[in-house]
Amino acid sequence: MMGYLSVSLQPRAVNVDLQTDATLQVDISDALSERDKVKFTVHTKSTLPNFKQSEFSVVRQHEEFIWLHDSFVENEDYAGYIIPPAPPRPDFDASREKLQKLGEGEGSMTKEEFTKMKQELEAEYLAIFKKTVAMHEVFLCRVAAHPVLRKDLNFHVFLEYNQDLSVRGKNKKEKLEDFFKNVVKSADGVLVAGVKDVDDFFEHEKTFLLEYHNRVKDASAKSDRMIRSHKSTHTTALLRILLHHYAYYCTTTAPLRILLFFLKVSELFEKTRKIEARVAADEDLKLADLLKYYLRESQAAKDLLYRRGRALVDYENANKALDKARAKNRDVLQAETSQQLCCHKFEKISESAKQELIDFKTRRVAAFRKNLVELAELELKHAKGNLQLLQSCLSVLKGDT
């Protein structure tokens, strides 16, 4: 029933603090939800010479975003950078499922209840949708703001080419390969992590990120659960109770006074419920999304460290190989070149990685600050609104006793 959903997007709260650069501005101006896929309209404004026009829009799908991300990851040149985490897959399954359930249960509830539930679910769907769009946009913005990645050819193609990029999803074989790669990588990661780093900064960052990542992961999962139970808890049940009562009283010849009382209370519960729903939504947006984003970001940073560690190990191995070659006096030149290559690579990664990690930290702190302040302010706003509602309602209820 919500196969097509179009959203015009306003500036959204983003989890990253980006310096705006007039030379390349990217945003998602529109999005369209079609059955199981979402079409994003990517809008670019640029003064860079390699674009034919200064302003243009293309339609992109989630898979194309993933392709772009993967192309960054696979590009050796970008080994020294924190690759902006790819946006998560749009997941409307839960919401769709609920809608379906609602449709099945249509007969068992009153029309009023049904429309209310439907509205709720649609609102939920819309929220998820907007969030998805926001995450995709954040990815593009991060890339556009990155001093190196913004110049990437693939990125430009992604932004400019107004046809379908005909990116296909990975087939089974590739997926299997990916899986093996991941296994190898994680095993390697453990191995690499065990290597003592010469640089204190990286050593520290490594331990920090390892711990941090795990904790963010934990916190994010917990916050998700909390918010989920918050959403399911908030006074919906109470409201339903009141409505039941109200309905019951409607059928009886109850005095008008009582009827009015219940009307008022159910009205109040309806309002507080809305507020609580907003509280939950805001917590979701400000807290859970923040944590989720930094979960991915810290993963990306970890990947960076892994790449550096890998390079370090390679460099050390190359050194050993060179020593061996020199001892045997065989293939010395080859070993020397490879050693130099490794050294160069390692140094390059280390150099950029240091800057990247420092950036990551400042970005993180700024984002947390912004979100936490906003969260506190929103919580306060909602609590005050709630308080006022309750106070006025109580005074009315007590007044007419």
Partner: protein
Amino acid sequence: MATSSERSPPPFPDSEDQELLESEEVGAPDSDDDDEGEDLFINPEQLTKMDTTLPEIDQPSAISAEPPSEAMGDPLVEPVSHTEDKPASEAVSESLDDFVDLTNNETDAPGDAITAEIAITDATKETTEIALDEPSDDFVDLLGNETEVAREEVVTEDVTVEAVPDSSEAVGSITDPPSDDRTGSDAEQEVKEASSCPIIDTSIDSSASNTQQPPVSEKIADPLVDLISDAPPADVKKPSQPLTDLFEDEPSDLFREPQLTKSAKQPQKSLFDEPDEDIFGEPLGATSKKTLNVAGVEQKEKNVTTKSGGSDVSGIGGPLNDNFHPEPTDIFTEEAVTTVPSVVSTSSVTSKTNGVHSEEEADIFAEATVELSLDSPRNDRKKNVMTKPAASAPSLSVAASLSKPQSATLEELEEEEQEDKFDINISITNPEKIGDGMNAYMAYKVSTQTTLPMFRSKAFTVRRRFSDFLGLYEKLSEKHGPNGYIVPPPPEKSILGMTKVKVGKEDPSSAEFVERRRAALERYLQRVVCHPSLLQDPDVREFLERDELPRAVNTQALSGAGFLKMINKATDAVSKMTIKMNESDVWFEEKLQEVESADQQFRKIHGLVDSLVGHRKELSLNTAGFAKSVAMLGSSEDNTALSRALSQLAEVEDKMEQLHQEQASNDSFCFAELLADYIRLLGAVRGSFDQRMKAWQRWQDAQSMLQKKRETEAKLLWANKPDKLQLAKDEITEWEAKVTQYERDFDRVSATVRKEVLRFEKEKARDFKKQIIKYLESMLQSQQQLIKYWEAFLPEAKAIA
């Protein structure tokens, strides 16, 4: 009222009679009028109409004149002659004096009275312009009677005065005086009756109605008064005020007297078996009696012409006379006097039948009952000869007093919110485990604070264990259940919960269980004492007051007695299925449906609340988890400000977890418990409906039995077997009596159920409202806390750099 049924308070025929009377006269033009005064006024009219079958216009004047003169005159007379006995009457202020004059005139000189009567007739002529001899005659006769038996009258008049004021006075005052004179039991009865809430209101109303009478009849009364007593017209015009004062001022001492007057009435009533049908005749009888006594033969004839059999009247008269044999004159006068209250009550009662509902009806009914109840003991005391009426009275009185007043109070109940609020406060505290192992039990401290005079002291405390509460319920439901009362059920036995407590690990769940049960028991007891009838039950008082209570037995869920109970319940259920009651009363049908749907609703809601509580608990758990992991994240964060903020956030989340937990317990205490209570209560409501059905069934059975007996009689007649015929006839009369008895029972139960259901609904609405407000307040508080927490957090978040 419950007790009254047991203790067999005297019958209270008046109200019913009058009501019926009224109903007949619905056609009367003025009858629609709401105003009591007018009603009163009309009533007499109607009464007289019935009696005399004279043109309407004449009668009103005559009768209207009559009641006022009596009503006023009586009280007035009393002070004059009886002041020594009743100092209270002295208190009656100047307004009285005027009346006193009037009464003096009447009482002192019969000759005066006669003149008065002439005057009255004149007055009536003047007002109505149609001078008819008959009404005036009656009136005169009445007056004459009074005057003739001045001595007696005084006494009787005292009585009437009392009857009027009695209502207004507090229960306590009533109880005291009677106890002096009468045996304890009598006194108790009275107290019971008196204490029942409606009475209090009633009495005031009644007095008001009395007072109002004069103004209505003003025109007529004025001349009357002038003529008779020279009392200033101003007083008469404004009698309502002084009169009311007077009545209210009257101490309860006076109150006792009404019995006398009523006693005269009572016998009549007791003679009548069926309140409904015969009653109709009764009022006539009552009025006719009065007329009989007062006016004489002509009136009687009139009575005959009107519906109620004159024979009834005469029949009544007979026994009465016999009973009163020692002081026949007294009786007559008494009766004459009695008519006054009766008239008053009728008038107010009439309003109901007219379709104009007003509170007074109910009040009056109640009043009537009170008076009657007082009467019978009084009679016993005064005239030992009275044994017969006293004996017969109980049964009738039960029916009458229970059925009618309650039905009358129906609407009243809806109108008056706080009517049955008692000054009694019960709290249960200090649950304490006594004993060890499986023999351990919890004892609770039951503290009562009250200003009710029925209790020996103002505050007292007893220790009770759970089974005592169950025992109390058993007793109450046994006693009051069959009468259609909704006896609040106690919380259920919980073997699991109690075993946990018994095993005695100090874990939070068992503490919660005990607290839950304590609260439930408290609510249970409060419901019991808030019930006007149950509060009167001696068992309740004993439960609250007595130090040692005999151990309640048969409360074991799995004991043999429990098993028997289960079987009983099963048979009940079967019979319930088999009984097909063709419901005559739509009200009951609708209510039963309502109750059933309410039951379903409550169960559904209860489930919802339970799930809500579950969700909240989960939420608080998750919040706690989140708080912990945020704290961990904070500790691993290497930016110090951010780390600090995160640990602050963790603290906030911790506090939120507390709030959620509180909210969860709030949910369950505010709503889940209340709902559980009401699910149980709805069961009790259904039970009362079942009782009504049973009563109906009994009645139907008796009827079919009677039918059978009649058939056998017919057969015997046919077969010509005179020896058995007599037996059959006896049986028939016996069954006839049973049928009427059962029918009355049914009516009574119906009325009680009606009243109880309305009361229940009111209580329910009030309870829920209270709980919801309480709940909202708790929500308010938690929001305030929340604001505090976040406000404290905000600067921390801003300090991140």
